[in-house]
Symmetry: D2
Subunit: 350 residues, 4 copies
Amino acid sequence: MDRKIPVGILGATGVVGQRCIQMLEHHPWFEVAWLAASDRSEGKPYAEAARWRLKTAIPARVASMQISPASPEGAPKIILAALDAAIAAELEPRFADAGCAVISNSSALRMNENVPLLIPEVNADHIRLIDGQSWRKKSGGYVVTNPNCSAIGLVLALAPLHRRFGLDTVMAVTMQAVSGAGYPGVASLDILGNVIPFIRNEEEKMEEETHKLLGSVNGSKIIPAGFAMSAQCNRVAVEDGHTESVSIRLKSKARPEEIIAAWNSYRAEPQELKLPSAPERPIVYVDANDRPQPRFDVDMGAGMSAVVGRLRPCGVLDWKFTVLSHNTIRGAAGAAVLNAELLKAKGYLE
Amino acid sequence: MDRKIPVGILGATGVVGQRCIQMLEHHPWFEVAWLAASDRSEGKPYAEAARWRLKTAIPARVASMQISPASPEGAPKIILAALDAAIAAELEPRFADAGCAVISNSSALRMNENVPLLIPEVNADHIRLIDGQSWRKKSGGYVVTNPNCSAIGLVLALAPLHRRFGLDTVMAVTMQAVSGAGYPGVASLDILGNVIPFIRNEEEKMEEETHKLLGSVNGSKIIPAGFAMSAQCNRVAVEDGHTESVSIRLKSKARPEEIIAAWNSYRAEPQELKLPSAPERPIVYVDANDRPQPRFDVDMGAGMSAVVGRLRPCGVLDWKFTVLSHNTIRGAAGAAVLNAELLKAKGYLE
Amino acid sequence: MDRKIPVGILGATGVVGQRCIQMLEHHPWFEVAWLAASDRSEGKPYAEAARWRLKTAIPARVASMQISPASPEGAPKIILAALDAAIAAELEPRFADAGCAVISNSSALRMNENVPLLIPEVNADHIRLIDGQSWRKKSGGYVVTNPNCSAIGLVLALAPLHRRFGLDTVMAVTMQAVSGAGYPGVASLDILGNVIPFIRNEEEKMEEETHKLLGSVNGSKIIPAGFAMSAQCNRVAVEDGHTESVSIRLKSKARPEEIIAAWNSYRAEPQELKLPSAPERPIVYVDANDRPQPRFDVDMGAGMSAVVGRLRPCGVLDWKFTVLSHNTIRGAAGAAVLNAELLKAKGYLE
Amino acid sequence: MDRKIPVGILGATGVVGQRCIQMLEHHPWFEVAWLAASDRSEGKPYAEAARWRLKTAIPARVASMQISPASPEGAPKIILAALDAAIAAELEPRFADAGCAVISNSSALRMNENVPLLIPEVNADHIRLIDGQSWRKKSGGYVVTNPNCSAIGLVLALAPLHRRFGLDTVMAVTMQAVSGAGYPGVASLDILGNVIPFIRNEEEKMEEETHKLLGSVNGSKIIPAGFAMSAQCNRVAVEDGHTESVSIRLKSKARPEEIIAAWNSYRAEPQELKLPSAPERPIVYVDANDRPQPRFDVDMGAGMSAVVGRLRPCGVLDWKFTVLSHNTIRGAAGAAVLNAELLKAKGYLE
């Protein structure tokens, strides 16, 4: 590949937009070529428009790039979109309509029946929904989405078990990091020394997205997975990393070592295709009895691995365990970038 | 009552011992008359021996009291014991044997079949187990215990539902405060910006204690409650207040307003007897969709009420909700003091 | 006093407005009779308009009060104003012009040469500046202000030393609580596990306000105190309580016990007049070598005492010490309420 | 260099010992060949003996190494010592006496007149003190120390100014991370939402070490630098990174751009010698008005750069600024490793 593929970022100044820029800084295939954000940022250099909240510096090339208007004119054909749902609902269709491949992190279109909700290691075959999109037919454009940051770690942990043993029931209680709410997001007065047992719409998203992600394709439709599920979502004083206490019942009997092997040996298309952002191991089981912990484990696999631990019998269902994943990398920006890589590898970015 | 009843505190320098002293400062019935702690504290004035970690000052009378040896000689007949389990296993029987009423916060003897595990609002009738204790027969002494700090809020929330609708299944995920681990307890390097998905033996205690607490007395035995249960315990960066995400299935159908009414109207013997530390309302349901929260709700009922919120249908069991209780007041020192008050009111401290 | 004096609160929904309401709930002289906030709150009941962030509940009477338009028509004659500076600059003069006694927590008019910047224990005599205000002459209205939350604890600690020994030089480095920035204020992503070495305009305010507060009245003018001063302001992950590391040089020699005595024995007009919100001891020196600490000491004197500790020689100036004060009580709402009480006691609210 | 030089670590299980192991994992010159810790760890594999608190995994080679007795027999000739002061006072001389080069992070011998207290970028010439050590004469062994974690960032920031303009007066107030107290170190109950205005002996160490570090060598003696200095030390809820608010008076006049240039252009022997752990820029001035901050800047120069910001005039002395440095890397383990590298480059490890 001689020249890198130009990529635009919609919502470039937010926490997820920043992560996208960070992940693309040394990307072998893509380069950031266009940035858009809210109206009041338009025309400003990125470094001035964004309140950069990451530990690595703004890539020099991006720092001086000017924020473009958030419209498809002049935008590249590939768009990573990191917008609030309300704005996404308006802008993403407009970009798709204009022929762009919109790779979205927003919840706006995730549950749309023609829009793939993708985790490349889990349901790469859902990608074919694209062909049913009216935008695709009209202009070649389309929309692909990644799941909510609370669903993605859970679904990575569930996928190998669902395939091998069948899921009957899933209960999950989350302890979610503040970066999941964006910036400025959660006020310090709300979260210092506190737990907030509520995140708006989060439980609903977790439940419906998990079913769609683990569903099967039937022609041009997704048949959602049929297991029972319940989610409870809490916010805690953690910067990055959603931790979840999970209980499951499986359809067929499994020994603990089989479950752990199913996790540790799990590889999928992104690993086979050696997609640049695919972690070597999508799921890592840690043996210590007090792990995973956000402080120590959130960056495993460069933030792209789901980290699982504490598998033990459940007094109600069959098994309980803890899963952790990086909410702004695997749960947002990295999810979008990996989706872009999958689309490229599959010929959807020609 | 002309003179107050002298009370001794075993383990007086720890976090729970300190709370006992704080709660007894202006107590209408009891006064602290004797303090014991580890050997290295012996002979020191309390203010020097204890690293006081509460916001109110050490009561002046107590500050200058000298730490006694941890043996029954010279101790008063009523002992609040706030010891580590290993030490409690050795010392509590010795005090009971010597004729003391040992009102213990430790886990050492909680599951002993002759030892009442008491929440006065929940199972005051278990108190009769005392009469089967060999100490009682020999010297008049006995041991009464209160539950683990993670069990007590949950059981308060479950008790009215169990009575009225019958519990079939209980799942609980805790987010527990650092004060539950005592002092120095959890290292700041372990918990700042972190979640620890493990507390040694905590899940086992929660499950077995909940069954005993909600069990029924049959002659001189407790028949544990028969529902299925599973607990997962996490530590979070909160000072005081254990928050729990709970799901339940009930044996008989209940409408949400009936459940809320069952909580809000719940009164029991401590309220009828007007025990000094009994909260007016043992359980308070808060209506806001993002409560209870430790920061705002932990001190409800002077730290003695369990605060419940977010009742909503569960996709797997029937209902889910959040419960919060103050782990060193209702979950430890206040539990012991309320047990002492109940024993007094029932004539067990004569 | 048969009936309480009606008081209005401008900026009633913010963190300081909430504290004012909390402090007036059981006030013997005043009662909240009118509330105003931003346009979008107008007409709503207070409980709906305010995102209440205090541990005690909204007083029932206030919860149902309707938010009035922020204009003097219909407002009571006494106004506690807790507005952002820009809005205060516009609204406070309008209320004063209409005859209101505006007791302001804002920085807008603090340094105005006719406006008293008051700490009742420090410079009650500055109150006479009121008589030079044009509003006073025209309508009887006036504006009185309290200092910035970072200045007030420092000045309380300095005042007795300045009187007794004379201040030559003051250096202060603050570690300020997040509640000082209002709500939502400091984003959790900015402050969790962090220190922010910058608070806009704070150092300038601390320096100029300290000089004015400790200045002397000459006819109708304040001659600012003449000592050299330098402030550095930092934000830390504390909820309530500004801690300051201070070094001073005195004009006359002082022994440490004299300094401590100057603090501990300090009483002023609010104590003599027994103003309801005046702490018994405006300054409390704590002996322990690791105090004061926000967690343990911030509520001393119901949050109205400045707490000082660690007096020791300074290798550059004469002495160094730590001072702590509650930034939203003594540093804001309580400062305003105490000013109101002083004005009442002095006959300025007739 | 064909084979790496074997290095032993005394106090290998503590926070600083862990950082040493982490920093030596891929070191081009040194490799960990021997580990010692307290008696109770002896004989255990390192992974079992240490409670590893870093985000990167224990190097595999080290994980299985067995903990040796803490005595010179069998130890390599080069020892990085990360011991508590009391133990260091006993063990370090014993290792030096046995011919070891003891490169110590402890305070025990820092102020000993024959022991160099070294920051390679600041006072590499102090290394010659080694030749006056009796151990050196007897067995070839010696002790070299690095400063306290609170002194090192400050001294890096001061050194170029002292050389170029001369220091007259220094005042520093620190806000120190919890990792500076080791593990378990600061209890979470002590620091969550709190500031502790006291760290035992820290202010004394900062003051005397700063004077020794910036002192000059006269024959075989150090003449301490002569400026006036005062330090105040606070603990805050930060994981890694000591932030300091500093004021200085210089002997000769300096313009701010000259000061900033003195910092940014500062290079010294470690940079010239290209020592492996030497940061390209020992001091980095950041322009943003609210930096440096631990969250964003602590890892600059792989944790080996001091980060300075907010240079502005001081109302009492000449200038004030903020300095941040990584307390367990530049302030401890990295300081020791860099000292080892300097000793190697200078021929002291032959």
